[in-house]
Amino acid sequence: MGFKMLALESHNLRKSYGRGKRRFEAVRGVSLSILPGQVLAFLGPNGAGKTTTIKMIAGLIRPDAGWVKISGADPHRQPQALKGVGAVLEGNRNLYWRLTPLENLEYFGVLRQMPRQAAKVRAKALLAAFGLEDKRQVPVQKLSRGMQQKIAIAAALIHEPQLLLLDEPTLGLDVESGETVKEFVRQVAASGCAILLTTHQLNVAEELSDRVAIIRQGEIVAEQSTQALIKQFSKGTYRIEFEGALSEAQRSAIAALGATLSDHHIHYSLDSLDSLDSLDSLAAKSSDQTSSHRHSAILYKILSLLDPLPLVEVRQDRADLTDVFLQFTQNKDNSFSNPQQEASTRQKKDKKDG
Protein backbone atom coordinates (compact mmCIF):
# COMPACT_ATOMS: atom_id res chain seq x y z
CA MET A 1 0.00 0.00 0.00
CA GLY A 2 1.44 3.40 -1.01
CA PHE A 3 1.97 6.25 1.43
CA LYS A 4 -0.97 8.66 1.46
CA MET A 5 -0.31 12.16 2.78
CA LEU A 6 -2.92 13.37 5.22
CA ALA A 7 -5.08 16.16 3.81
CA LEU A 8 -5.44 17.55 7.33
CA GLU A 9 -3.43 16.92 10.42
CA SER A 10 -3.93 18.95 13.55
CA HIS A 11 -2.08 18.17 16.72
CA ASN A 12 -2.98 19.07 20.28
CA LEU A 13 -4.67 22.37 19.40
CA ARG A 14 -5.39 24.59 22.36
CA LYS A 15 -7.14 27.93 22.61
CA SER A 16 -8.15 30.04 25.59
CA TYR A 17 -10.07 33.29 25.64
CA GLY A 18 -10.17 36.01 28.27
CA ARG A 19 -7.86 36.75 31.14
CA GLY A 20 -7.65 36.05 34.85
CA LYS A 21 -10.89 34.74 36.31
CA ARG A 22 -12.72 35.18 33.04
CA ARG A 23 -10.28 32.99 31.19
CA PHE A 24 -11.75 29.84 29.76
CA GLU A 25 -10.32 27.12 27.61
CA ALA A 26 -12.40 26.82 24.46
CA VAL A 27 -10.31 24.06 22.90
CA ARG A 28 -8.21 21.63 24.91
CA GLY A 29 -5.79 19.47 23.01
CA VAL A 30 -7.75 18.69 19.88
CA SER A 31 -6.03 16.46 17.35
CA LEU A 32 -7.76 15.55 14.11
CA SER A 33 -6.62 13.99 10.89
CA ILE A 34 -8.38 13.32 7.60
CA LEU A 35 -7.21 11.35 4.59
CA PRO A 36 -7.94 12.55 1.05
CA GLY A 37 -11.47 11.58 0.04
CA GLN A 38 -12.63 11.10 3.64
CA VAL A 39 -15.52 12.92 5.29
CA LEU A 40 -15.06 13.58 9.00
CA ALA A 41 -18.17 14.72 10.85
CA PHE A 42 -17.08 17.00 13.65
CA LEU A 43 -19.91 17.06 16.13
CA GLY A 44 -20.55 18.75 19.42
CA PRO A 45 -23.10 20.86 21.25
CA ASN A 46 -23.11 24.65 20.92
CA GLY A 47 -20.07 26.18 22.56
CA ALA A 48 -18.12 22.92 22.57
CA GLY A 49 -15.27 24.40 20.52
CA LYS A 50 -16.14 23.30 16.97
CA THR A 51 -16.00 26.70 15.30
CA THR A 52 -12.83 27.71 17.14
CA THR A 53 -11.20 24.46 16.02
CA ILE A 54 -12.31 24.92 12.40
CA LYS A 55 -11.04 28.49 12.37
CA MET A 56 -7.72 27.41 13.83
CA ILE A 57 -7.46 24.85 11.03
CA ALA A 58 -8.27 27.55 8.45
CA GLY A 59 -5.64 29.89 9.88
CA LEU A 60 -8.28 32.40 11.03
CA ILE A 61 -7.60 31.92 14.75
CA ARG A 62 -4.11 31.40 16.07
CA PRO A 63 -3.85 28.47 18.50
CA ASP A 64 -2.15 28.98 21.87
CA ALA A 65 -0.47 25.62 21.37
CA GLY A 66 -0.42 22.80 18.86
CA TRP A 67 -0.12 22.87 15.09
CA VAL A 68 -2.07 22.39 11.89
CA LYS A 69 -0.86 20.95 8.62
CA ILE A 70 -2.82 21.01 5.41
CA SER A 71 -1.23 18.58 2.96
CA GLY A 72 1.94 19.03 4.96
CA ALA A 73 1.97 22.87 5.13
CA ASP A 74 1.16 25.03 8.14
CA PRO A 75 -1.47 27.71 7.29
CA HIS A 76 -0.29 29.87 10.21
CA ARG A 77 3.28 30.07 8.92
CA GLN A 78 2.99 29.39 5.20
CA PRO A 79 0.24 31.43 3.50
CA GLN A 80 0.58 29.15 0.47
CA ALA A 81 -0.96 26.39 2.61
CA LEU A 82 -4.24 28.28 2.23
CA LYS A 83 -4.25 27.27 -1.45
CA GLY A 84 -5.18 23.85 -0.15
CA VAL A 85 -8.20 24.97 1.90
CA GLY A 86 -11.73 25.89 0.96
CA ALA A 87 -14.26 26.89 3.59
CA VAL A 88 -17.94 27.61 3.89
CA LEU A 89 -18.32 29.17 7.30
CA GLU A 90 -21.56 29.04 9.20
CA GLY A 91 -23.67 32.16 9.60
CA ASN A 92 -21.80 33.87 6.77
CA ARG A 93 -23.01 34.54 3.28
CA ASN A 94 -19.55 33.75 1.94
CA LEU A 95 -20.52 35.43 -1.36
CA TYR A 96 -20.90 38.89 -2.87
CA TRP A 97 -24.61 39.32 -3.31
CA ARG A 98 -24.44 41.87 -6.08
CA LEU A 99 -22.32 39.60 -8.24
CA THR A 100 -23.65 36.74 -10.31
CA PRO A 101 -22.63 33.15 -9.50
CA LEU A 102 -20.12 33.17 -12.35
CA GLU A 103 -18.60 36.50 -11.25
CA ASN A 104 -18.38 35.28 -7.64
CA LEU A 105 -16.67 32.07 -8.60
CA GLU A 106 -14.22 33.80 -10.92
CA TYR A 107 -13.37 36.36 -8.26
CA PHE A 108 -12.80 33.78 -5.53
CA GLY A 109 -10.66 31.75 -7.92
CA VAL A 110 -8.33 34.71 -8.48
CA LEU A 111 -8.37 35.49 -4.75
CA ARG A 112 -6.99 31.96 -4.30
CA GLN A 113 -4.26 32.74 -6.87
CA MET A 114 -5.76 30.96 -9.88
CA PRO A 115 -5.15 32.44 -13.34
CA ARG A 116 -8.31 34.28 -14.44
CA GLN A 117 -8.97 32.11 -17.46
CA ALA A 118 -8.57 28.90 -15.46
CA ALA A 119 -10.92 30.29 -12.80
CA LYS A 120 -13.52 31.06 -15.45
CA VAL A 121 -13.35 27.57 -16.98
CA ARG A 122 -13.54 25.90 -13.58
CA ALA A 123 -16.40 28.20 -12.52
CA LYS A 124 -18.46 27.18 -15.52
CA ALA A 125 -17.76 23.51 -14.86
CA LEU A 126 -18.78 23.84 -11.21
CA LEU A 127 -21.99 25.68 -12.06
CA ALA A 128 -22.82 22.94 -14.53
CA ALA A 129 -22.12 20.29 -11.90
CA PHE A 130 -24.44 22.09 -9.47
CA GLY A 131 -27.17 22.46 -12.09
CA LEU A 132 -26.91 26.25 -11.91
CA GLU A 133 -25.84 27.00 -15.48
CA ASP A 134 -29.07 28.84 -16.24
CA LYS A 135 -28.62 31.04 -13.17
CA ARG A 136 -25.05 32.05 -13.82
CA GLN A 137 -25.96 35.59 -14.89
CA VAL A 138 -28.45 36.28 -12.08
CA PRO A 139 -27.18 38.30 -9.08
CA VAL A 140 -26.76 35.98 -6.11
CA GLN A 141 -29.16 37.99 -3.94
CA LYS A 142 -32.01 37.03 -6.27
CA LEU A 143 -31.41 33.30 -5.89
CA SER A 144 -32.95 30.94 -3.35
CA ARG A 145 -31.16 30.08 -0.10
CA GLY A 146 -30.39 26.59 -1.39
CA MET A 147 -28.84 27.93 -4.57
CA GLN A 148 -26.79 30.46 -2.60
CA GLN A 149 -25.48 27.69 -0.40
CA LYS A 150 -24.54 25.59 -3.40
CA ILE A 151 -22.69 28.54 -4.93
CA ALA A 152 -20.90 29.16 -1.62
CA ILE A 153 -19.71 25.54 -1.67
CA ALA A 154 -18.73 25.89 -5.34
CA ALA A 155 -16.77 29.07 -4.49
CA ALA A 156 -14.95 27.16 -1.75
CA LEU A 157 -14.06 24.48 -4.30
CA ILE A 158 -13.03 26.75 -7.16
CA HIS A 159 -9.30 26.29 -6.59
CA GLU A 160 -9.59 22.52 -6.14
CA PRO A 161 -8.54 22.47 -2.49
CA GLN A 162 -7.34 19.30 -0.79
CA LEU A 163 -9.42 20.14 2.27
CA LEU A 164 -12.95 21.52 2.42
CA LEU A 165 -14.27 22.90 5.69
CA LEU A 166 -18.06 22.89 5.80
CA ASP A 167 -19.67 24.50 8.81
CA GLU A 168 -23.39 23.63 8.88
CA PRO A 169 -23.76 23.31 5.09
CA THR A 170 -27.41 22.19 5.16
CA LEU A 171 -28.67 24.58 7.84
CA GLY A 172 -31.86 26.37 6.83
CA LEU A 173 -32.21 24.49 3.55
CA ASP A 174 -35.42 22.85 2.40
CA VAL A 175 -35.44 19.08 1.95
CA GLU A 176 -34.67 19.17 -1.77
CA SER A 177 -31.80 21.66 -1.46
CA GLY A 178 -30.44 19.72 1.51
CA GLU A 179 -30.43 16.54 -0.57
CA THR A 180 -28.63 18.29 -3.45
CA VAL A 181 -25.97 19.66 -1.11
CA LYS A 182 -25.50 16.22 0.44
CA GLU A 183 -25.15 14.63 -2.98
CA PHE A 184 -22.58 17.22 -3.90
CA VAL A 185 -20.61 16.62 -0.72
CA ARG A 186 -20.47 12.93 -1.67
CA GLN A 187 -19.24 13.80 -5.16
CA VAL A 188 -16.59 16.16 -3.80
CA ALA A 189 -15.33 13.51 -1.40
CA ALA A 190 -15.32 10.94 -4.20
CA SER A 191 -13.10 13.27 -6.22
CA GLY A 192 -10.45 12.96 -3.49
CA CYS A 193 -11.08 16.11 -1.44
CA ALA A 194 -11.03 15.65 2.32
CA ILE A 195 -14.04 17.18 4.07
CA LEU A 196 -14.40 18.37 7.64
CA LEU A 197 -18.10 18.73 8.24
CA THR A 198 -19.85 20.19 11.24
CA THR A 199 -23.59 19.94 11.60
CA HIS A 200 -26.29 19.69 14.19
CA GLN A 201 -28.31 17.58 11.77
CA LEU A 202 -27.02 14.22 12.89
CA ASN A 203 -28.81 12.29 10.18
CA VAL A 204 -26.81 14.33 7.65
CA ALA A 205 -23.59 13.53 9.49
CA GLU A 206 -24.51 9.85 9.62
CA GLU A 207 -25.28 9.74 5.91
CA LEU A 208 -22.19 11.58 4.76
CA SER A 209 -19.37 10.80 7.11
CA ASP A 210 -16.77 8.07 7.06
CA ARG A 211 -15.62 9.02 10.51
CA VAL A 212 -17.00 10.95 13.45
CA ALA A 213 -15.24 13.09 16.03
CA ILE A 214 -17.30 14.32 18.96
CA ILE A 215 -16.10 17.32 20.91
CA ARG A 216 -17.38 18.26 24.33
CA GLN A 217 -16.15 21.15 26.44
CA GLY A 218 -13.18 21.61 24.15
CA GLU A 219 -12.04 18.00 24.20
CA ILE A 220 -12.50 15.17 21.73
CA VAL A 221 -14.47 12.49 23.56
CA ALA A 222 -14.86 10.10 20.64
CA GLU A 223 -13.25 9.63 17.30
CA GLN A 224 -13.69 6.62 15.08
CA SER A 225 -15.41 5.29 12.02
CA THR A 226 -19.07 6.28 11.90
CA GLN A 227 -20.36 2.77 11.38
CA ALA A 228 -18.12 1.30 14.08
CA LEU A 229 -19.30 3.94 16.53
CA ILE A 230 -22.95 3.31 15.75
CA LYS A 231 -22.44 -0.42 15.96
CA GLN A 232 -20.73 -0.01 19.28
CA PHE A 233 -23.71 1.84 20.65
CA SER A 234 -26.32 -0.38 19.05
CA LYS A 235 -27.71 -2.57 21.77
CA GLY A 236 -28.09 -5.44 19.36
CA THR A 237 -31.65 -6.31 20.20
CA TYR A 238 -33.47 -8.49 17.69
CA ARG A 239 -37.19 -8.17 17.42
CA ILE A 240 -39.17 -11.00 15.87
CA GLU A 241 -42.85 -10.67 15.09
CA PHE A 242 -44.87 -13.77 14.26
CA GLU A 243 -48.43 -14.92 13.83
CA GLY A 244 -50.20 -17.74 15.65
CA ALA A 245 -49.69 -19.18 19.11
CA LEU A 246 -46.67 -20.87 20.63
CA SER A 247 -46.86 -24.07 22.58
CA GLU A 248 -45.69 -24.11 26.18
CA ALA A 249 -42.66 -26.19 25.17
CA GLN A 250 -41.69 -23.67 22.48
CA ARG A 251 -42.08 -20.79 24.95
CA SER A 252 -39.82 -22.34 27.53
CA ALA A 253 -37.22 -23.32 24.94
CA ILE A 254 -37.10 -19.77 23.60
CA ALA A 255 -36.96 -18.29 27.10
CA ALA A 256 -34.09 -20.65 27.87
CA LEU A 257 -32.14 -19.04 25.05
CA GLY A 258 -32.41 -15.71 26.84
CA ALA A 259 -35.20 -14.15 24.78
CA THR A 260 -38.29 -12.47 26.20
CA LEU A 261 -41.70 -13.20 24.82
CA SER A 262 -44.99 -11.42 24.49
CA ASP A 263 -48.09 -12.51 22.50
CA HIS A 264 -46.68 -12.11 19.02
CA HIS A 265 -43.23 -10.72 19.65
CA ILE A 266 -39.88 -12.05 20.73
CA HIS A 267 -37.06 -9.77 21.88
CA TYR A 268 -33.60 -11.11 21.96
CA SER A 269 -30.76 -8.98 23.26
CA LEU A 270 -27.12 -9.72 22.52
CA ASP A 271 -26.24 -8.62 26.03
CA SER A 272 -28.05 -11.56 27.50
CA LEU A 273 -25.84 -14.12 25.83
CA ASP A 274 -22.91 -14.28 28.20
CA SER A 275 -24.96 -14.50 31.37
CA LEU A 276 -26.95 -17.51 30.37
CA ASP A 277 -25.85 -20.78 31.96
CA SER A 278 -28.08 -22.76 29.66
CA LEU A 279 -26.05 -21.57 26.72
CA ASP A 280 -22.72 -22.75 28.03
CA SER A 281 -22.50 -25.59 25.60
CA LEU A 282 -23.48 -23.44 22.64
CA ALA A 283 -21.13 -20.69 23.71
CA ALA A 284 -18.31 -23.13 24.23
CA LYS A 285 -18.90 -24.65 20.87
CA SER A 286 -18.51 -21.33 19.23
CA SER A 287 -15.88 -19.86 21.53
CA ASP A 288 -13.51 -19.40 18.65
CA GLN A 289 -16.13 -17.66 16.56
CA THR A 290 -16.82 -14.00 16.55
CA SER A 291 -19.50 -12.62 18.76
CA SER A 292 -21.80 -11.90 15.83
CA HIS A 293 -21.64 -15.50 14.68
CA ARG A 294 -22.64 -16.66 18.13
CA HIS A 295 -25.58 -14.30 18.18
CA SER A 296 -26.63 -15.42 14.74
CA ALA A 297 -26.53 -19.03 15.85
CA ILE A 298 -28.92 -18.28 18.71
CA LEU A 299 -31.15 -16.25 16.46
CA TYR A 300 -31.42 -19.16 14.02
CA LYS A 301 -32.18 -21.44 16.92
CA ILE A 302 -35.06 -19.17 18.00
CA LEU A 303 -36.32 -19.02 14.43
CA SER A 304 -36.21 -22.79 14.14
CA LEU A 305 -38.22 -23.03 17.33
CA LEU A 306 -40.87 -20.83 15.75
CA ASP A 307 -41.20 -23.11 12.76
CA PRO A 308 -43.83 -23.42 11.16
CA LEU A 309 -45.50 -20.24 12.45
CA PRO A 310 -45.63 -17.44 9.84
CA LEU A 311 -43.03 -14.69 10.44
CA VAL A 312 -44.14 -11.05 10.02
CA GLU A 313 -40.85 -9.31 10.66
CA VAL A 314 -37.33 -9.94 11.89
CA ARG A 315 -35.32 -6.81 12.59
CA GLN A 316 -32.35 -5.65 14.56
CA ASP A 317 -32.76 -2.48 16.58
CA ARG A 318 -29.89 -0.21 15.67
CA ALA A 319 -28.62 2.95 17.36
CA ASP A 320 -28.23 6.05 15.24
CA LEU A 321 -25.75 8.89 15.49
CA THR A 322 -28.21 10.88 17.60
CA ASP A 323 -28.14 8.15 20.30
CA VAL A 324 -24.35 8.08 20.17
CA PHE A 325 -24.06 11.86 20.25
CA LEU A 326 -26.42 12.22 23.20
CA GLN A 327 -24.62 9.55 25.17
CA PHE A 328 -21.34 11.36 24.76
CA THR A 329 -22.51 14.91 25.19
CA GLN A 330 -25.02 14.44 28.00
CA ASN A 331 -22.62 12.53 30.20
CA LYS A 332 -21.97 15.15 32.87
CA ASP A 333 -19.00 13.59 34.56
CA ASN A 334 -15.79 13.88 32.71
CA SER A 335 -14.57 10.43 33.58
CA PHE A 336 -14.28 8.94 30.12
CA SER A 337 -12.21 9.74 27.18
CA ASN A 338 -12.06 6.37 25.50
CA PRO A 339 -15.39 5.61 23.86
CA GLN A 340 -14.68 1.91 23.58
CA GLN A 341 -13.92 1.65 27.25
CA GLU A 342 -17.00 3.72 28.01
CA ALA A 343 -19.17 1.60 25.77
CA SER A 344 -17.97 -1.55 27.44
CA THR A 345 -18.61 -0.02 30.89
CA ARG A 346 -22.08 0.96 29.76
CA GLN A 347 -22.85 -2.52 28.45
CA LYS A 348 -21.74 -4.09 31.72
CA LYS A 349 -23.91 -1.65 33.64
CA ASP A 350 -26.93 -2.38 31.43
CA LYS A 351 -26.41 -6.05 32.01
CA LYS A 352 -26.20 -5.57 35.74
CA ASP A 353 -29.32 -3.40 35.78
CA GLY A 354 -31.19 -5.78 33.52
Partner: protein, 260 residues
Amino acid sequence: MAELTNLLIAELKRTWIQTLRYPSEVVGGVVILTAVFYGIFLSTQYVAGPASTFGDRLDAVVVGYVIWTLVLYIVNDIANNLQLEAQTGTLEQVFLSPFGASKVFLVRAIASLSLRILLIGIVLAIIIAITGSQLAFPPILLLPLATLLLSAYGLAFFIGAFALVLKKVQQVLGLFQFVLLFLLAAPTEDLSGSARIAANLLPILPSTGLLRDLMAKGEGLNWQEWLVALANGLIYFALGILVFRWAESRAKRQGSLGGY
Protein backbone atom coordinates in the same frame (compact mmCIF):
# COMPACT_ATOMS: atom_id res chain seq x y z
CA MET B 1 3.58 39.60 -9.82
CA ALA B 2 1.33 38.14 -12.52
CA GLU B 3 -0.92 36.88 -9.74
CA LEU B 4 -1.09 40.37 -8.20
CA THR B 5 -1.98 41.87 -11.58
CA ASN B 6 -4.68 39.23 -11.90
CA LEU B 7 -5.95 40.19 -8.47
CA LEU B 8 -5.98 43.88 -9.37
CA ILE B 9 -8.01 43.16 -12.51
CA ALA B 10 -10.39 40.93 -10.53
CA GLU B 11 -10.78 43.60 -7.84
CA LEU B 12 -11.40 46.29 -10.44
CA LYS B 13 -14.03 44.10 -12.04
CA ARG B 14 -15.66 43.27 -8.69
CA THR B 15 -15.69 46.88 -7.50
CA TRP B 16 -17.00 48.23 -10.77
CA ILE B 17 -19.69 45.58 -11.18
CA GLN B 18 -20.85 45.98 -7.61
CA THR B 19 -21.15 49.72 -8.07
CA LEU B 20 -22.50 49.88 -11.58
CA ARG B 21 -25.01 47.03 -11.24
CA TYR B 22 -27.35 49.53 -9.62
CA PRO B 23 -26.97 52.68 -11.75
CA SER B 24 -29.46 54.68 -9.69
CA GLU B 25 -26.98 54.65 -6.80
CA VAL B 26 -24.22 55.96 -9.07
CA VAL B 27 -26.43 58.71 -10.48
CA GLY B 28 -27.47 59.64 -6.93
CA GLY B 29 -23.81 59.75 -5.88
CA VAL B 30 -22.88 61.98 -8.81
CA VAL B 31 -25.79 64.35 -8.10
CA ILE B 32 -24.90 64.64 -4.40
CA LEU B 33 -21.17 65.12 -5.08
CA THR B 34 -21.93 67.74 -7.75
CA ALA B 35 -24.26 69.60 -5.41
CA VAL B 36 -21.65 69.61 -2.65
CA PHE B 37 -18.89 70.66 -5.04
CA TYR B 38 -21.04 73.42 -6.45
CA GLY B 39 -21.87 74.60 -2.95
CA ILE B 40 -18.17 74.65 -2.10
CA PHE B 41 -17.43 76.39 -5.34
CA LEU B 42 -19.84 79.14 -4.40
CA SER B 43 -18.51 79.51 -0.86
CA THR B 44 -14.80 79.07 -1.15
CA GLN B 45 -13.79 80.18 2.30
CA TYR B 46 -15.24 77.13 4.08
CA VAL B 47 -12.84 74.52 2.90
CA ALA B 48 -9.97 76.36 1.31
CA GLY B 49 -8.80 77.93 4.55
CA PRO B 50 -7.18 81.34 4.51
CA ALA B 51 -7.33 82.80 1.03
CA SER B 52 -3.76 84.04 1.37
CA THR B 53 -2.39 80.53 1.49
CA PHE B 54 -4.66 78.77 -0.92
CA GLY B 55 -5.01 81.56 -3.37
CA ASP B 56 -8.24 83.08 -4.45
CA ARG B 57 -8.59 81.09 -7.60
CA LEU B 58 -11.84 79.19 -7.52
CA ASP B 59 -10.45 76.37 -9.62
CA ALA B 60 -7.71 75.80 -7.05
CA VAL B 61 -10.38 75.60 -4.39
CA VAL B 62 -12.18 72.96 -6.34
CA VAL B 63 -9.02 70.93 -6.83
CA GLY B 64 -8.23 71.35 -3.13
CA TYR B 65 -11.64 70.03 -2.26
CA VAL B 66 -11.29 67.14 -4.68
CA ILE B 67 -8.03 66.14 -3.02
CA TRP B 68 -9.58 66.43 0.44
CA THR B 69 -12.51 64.19 -0.46
CA LEU B 70 -10.21 61.79 -2.25
CA VAL B 71 -7.86 61.48 0.73
CA LEU B 72 -10.80 61.20 3.10
CA TYR B 73 -12.19 58.43 0.94
CA ILE B 74 -8.85 56.59 0.83
CA VAL B 75 -8.20 56.94 4.54
CA ASN B 76 -11.60 55.53 5.48
CA ASP B 77 -11.73 52.98 2.70
CA ILE B 78 -9.97 50.03 4.31
CA ALA B 79 -11.80 50.39 7.63
CA ASN B 80 -15.13 50.79 5.83
CA ASN B 81 -14.35 47.83 3.63
CA LEU B 82 -13.49 45.69 6.66
CA GLN B 83 -16.73 46.58 8.41
CA LEU B 84 -18.86 46.10 5.33
CA GLU B 85 -17.32 42.73 4.55
CA ALA B 86 -17.77 41.64 8.17
CA GLN B 87 -21.44 42.58 7.98
CA THR B 88 -22.01 40.88 4.65
CA GLY B 89 -20.12 37.79 5.74
CA THR B 90 -17.27 37.70 3.25
CA LEU B 91 -14.44 39.02 5.43
CA GLU B 92 -13.15 35.64 6.54
CA GLN B 93 -13.01 34.48 2.93
CA VAL B 94 -10.65 37.39 2.25
CA PHE B 95 -8.42 36.29 5.11
CA LEU B 96 -8.35 32.80 3.60
CA SER B 97 -6.53 34.16 0.57
CA PRO B 98 -2.92 33.04 0.16
CA PHE B 99 -2.10 36.63 -0.90
CA GLY B 100 -2.46 37.78 2.71
CA ALA B 101 -4.99 40.34 3.89
CA SER B 102 -2.78 43.43 3.61
CA LYS B 103 -2.09 42.82 -0.10
CA VAL B 104 -5.74 42.14 -0.84
CA PHE B 105 -6.90 45.27 0.97
CA LEU B 106 -4.27 47.42 -0.72
CA VAL B 107 -5.31 46.15 -4.14
CA ARG B 108 -8.94 46.70 -3.21
CA ALA B 109 -8.22 50.25 -2.09
CA ILE B 110 -6.52 50.98 -5.41
CA ALA B 111 -9.44 49.46 -7.33
CA SER B 112 -12.02 51.49 -5.45
CA LEU B 113 -9.87 54.61 -5.86
CA SER B 114 -10.02 54.20 -9.62
CA LEU B 115 -13.80 54.17 -9.44
CA ARG B 116 -13.79 57.15 -7.14
CA ILE B 117 -11.53 59.09 -9.49
CA LEU B 118 -13.90 58.34 -12.36
CA LEU B 119 -16.87 59.58 -10.35
CA ILE B 120 -15.03 62.71 -9.33
CA GLY B 121 -13.96 63.23 -12.95
CA ILE B 122 -17.59 63.17 -14.04
CA VAL B 123 -18.50 65.61 -11.28
CA LEU B 124 -15.63 67.94 -12.21
CA ALA B 125 -16.70 67.86 -15.85
CA ILE B 126 -20.20 68.88 -14.81
CA ILE B 127 -18.85 71.69 -12.59
CA ILE B 128 -16.62 72.99 -15.37
CA ALA B 129 -19.56 72.92 -17.77
CA ILE B 130 -21.74 74.84 -15.29
CA THR B 131 -19.20 77.44 -14.18
CA GLY B 132 -16.97 77.74 -17.20
CA SER B 133 -13.97 77.36 -14.90
CA GLN B 134 -10.70 76.24 -16.47
CA LEU B 135 -8.88 73.75 -14.31
CA ALA B 136 -5.24 73.13 -15.06
CA PHE B 137 -3.54 69.84 -14.20
CA PRO B 138 0.19 70.18 -14.83
CA PRO B 139 1.61 66.62 -15.09
CA ILE B 140 4.19 67.44 -12.42
CA LEU B 141 1.22 67.54 -10.04
CA LEU B 142 1.22 63.75 -10.13
CA LEU B 143 4.47 63.58 -8.12
CA PRO B 144 3.26 65.25 -4.90
CA LEU B 145 -0.09 63.55 -5.47
CA ALA B 146 1.67 60.18 -5.44
CA THR B 147 3.44 60.92 -2.16
CA LEU B 148 0.15 62.20 -0.76
CA LEU B 149 -1.56 58.94 -1.74
CA LEU B 150 1.25 56.84 -0.22
CA SER B 151 0.85 58.65 3.06
CA ALA B 152 -2.95 58.42 2.84
CA TYR B 153 -2.82 54.66 2.24
CA GLY B 154 -0.51 54.37 5.25
CA LEU B 155 -3.16 56.13 7.35
CA ALA B 156 -5.84 53.92 5.78
CA PHE B 157 -4.03 50.79 6.99
CA PHE B 158 -3.60 52.43 10.38
CA ILE B 159 -7.34 52.99 10.71
CA GLY B 160 -8.01 49.56 9.21
CA ALA B 161 -5.85 48.14 12.00
CA PHE B 162 -8.01 49.99 14.54
CA ALA B 163 -11.10 48.53 12.90
CA LEU B 164 -9.66 45.02 13.12
CA VAL B 165 -8.77 45.26 16.79
CA LEU B 166 -11.34 47.67 18.23
CA LYS B 167 -14.20 46.86 15.83
CA LYS B 168 -16.29 49.96 16.40
CA VAL B 169 -14.46 52.81 14.74
CA GLN B 170 -17.22 55.02 13.33
CA GLN B 171 -16.61 57.73 15.93
CA VAL B 172 -12.87 57.63 15.37
CA LEU B 173 -13.49 57.97 11.64
CA GLY B 174 -15.72 61.00 12.20
CA LEU B 175 -13.09 62.64 14.35
CA PHE B 176 -10.45 61.85 11.79
CA GLN B 177 -12.15 64.00 9.17
CA PHE B 178 -11.16 67.07 11.17
CA VAL B 179 -7.61 65.82 11.67
CA LEU B 180 -7.42 65.38 7.91
CA LEU B 181 -8.81 68.81 7.29
CA PHE B 182 -6.00 70.17 9.45
CA LEU B 183 -3.39 68.05 7.68
CA LEU B 184 -4.59 69.19 4.27
CA ALA B 185 -5.31 72.83 4.98
CA ALA B 186 -2.68 73.92 7.50
CA PRO B 187 -0.23 76.24 5.72
CA THR B 188 2.84 74.46 7.04
CA GLU B 189 4.95 75.28 3.98
CA ASP B 190 5.34 78.75 5.45
CA LEU B 191 6.75 77.40 8.73
CA SER B 192 10.46 77.27 9.46
CA GLY B 193 12.88 75.77 11.96
CA SER B 194 11.71 73.08 14.37
CA ALA B 195 8.05 73.70 13.52
CA ARG B 196 8.83 72.86 9.90
CA ILE B 197 10.67 69.69 10.93
CA ALA B 198 7.66 68.68 13.04
CA ALA B 199 5.36 69.36 10.08
CA ASN B 200 7.54 67.19 7.86
CA LEU B 201 7.18 64.35 10.35
CA LEU B 202 3.38 64.45 10.31
CA PRO B 203 1.58 62.39 7.68
CA ILE B 204 0.45 64.03 4.40
CA LEU B 205 1.59 67.54 5.39
CA PRO B 206 4.75 67.77 3.22
CA SER B 207 2.74 66.69 0.16
CA THR B 208 -0.11 69.13 0.68
CA GLY B 209 2.36 72.01 0.98
CA LEU B 210 3.85 71.06 -2.37
CA LEU B 211 0.43 70.73 -3.95
CA ARG B 212 -0.49 74.22 -2.81
CA ASP B 213 2.80 75.57 -4.18
CA LEU B 214 1.99 74.05 -7.54
CA MET B 215 -1.71 74.74 -7.76
CA ALA B 216 -2.37 77.91 -5.86
CA LYS B 217 0.89 79.79 -5.88
CA GLY B 218 1.91 78.90 -9.39
CA GLU B 219 5.38 77.85 -8.23
CA GLY B 220 7.46 75.01 -9.63
CA LEU B 221 8.14 71.74 -7.79
CA ASN B 222 10.79 72.00 -5.09
CA TRP B 223 12.57 68.68 -5.60
CA GLN B 224 14.25 68.70 -2.21
CA GLU B 225 10.90 69.08 -0.51
CA TRP B 226 9.42 66.45 -2.77
CA LEU B 227 12.08 63.98 -1.56
CA VAL B 228 11.05 64.81 2.00
CA ALA B 229 7.42 64.21 0.99
CA LEU B 230 8.40 60.92 -0.66
CA ALA B 231 10.23 59.75 2.46
CA ASN B 232 7.22 60.82 4.53
CA GLY B 233 4.87 58.88 2.26
CA LEU B 234 7.00 55.73 2.21
CA ILE B 235 7.50 55.74 5.97
CA TYR B 236 3.80 56.17 6.73
CA PHE B 237 2.89 53.55 4.16
CA ALA B 238 5.34 51.04 5.64
CA LEU B 239 4.20 51.89 9.18
CA GLY B 240 0.56 51.45 8.17
CA ILE B 241 1.22 48.02 6.68
CA LEU B 242 3.23 46.96 9.75
CA VAL B 243 0.52 48.09 12.17
CA PHE B 244 -2.15 46.39 10.05
CA ARG B 245 -0.23 43.12 10.11
CA TRP B 246 0.19 43.41 13.85
CA ALA B 247 -3.56 44.04 14.19
CA GLU B 248 -4.34 41.04 11.98
CA SER B 249 -2.14 38.84 14.12
CA ARG B 250 -3.75 40.22 17.29
CA ALA B 251 -7.27 39.66 15.94
CA LYS B 252 -6.27 36.08 15.09
CA ARG B 253 -4.99 35.59 18.63
CA GLN B 254 -8.18 37.05 20.07
CA GLY B 255 -10.29 34.98 17.70
CA SER B 256 -12.16 38.11 16.69
CA LEU B 257 -11.35 38.37 12.99
CA GLY B 258 -14.83 37.98 11.56
CA GLY B 259 -16.93 39.51 14.31
CA TYR B 260 -18.17 43.08 14.48
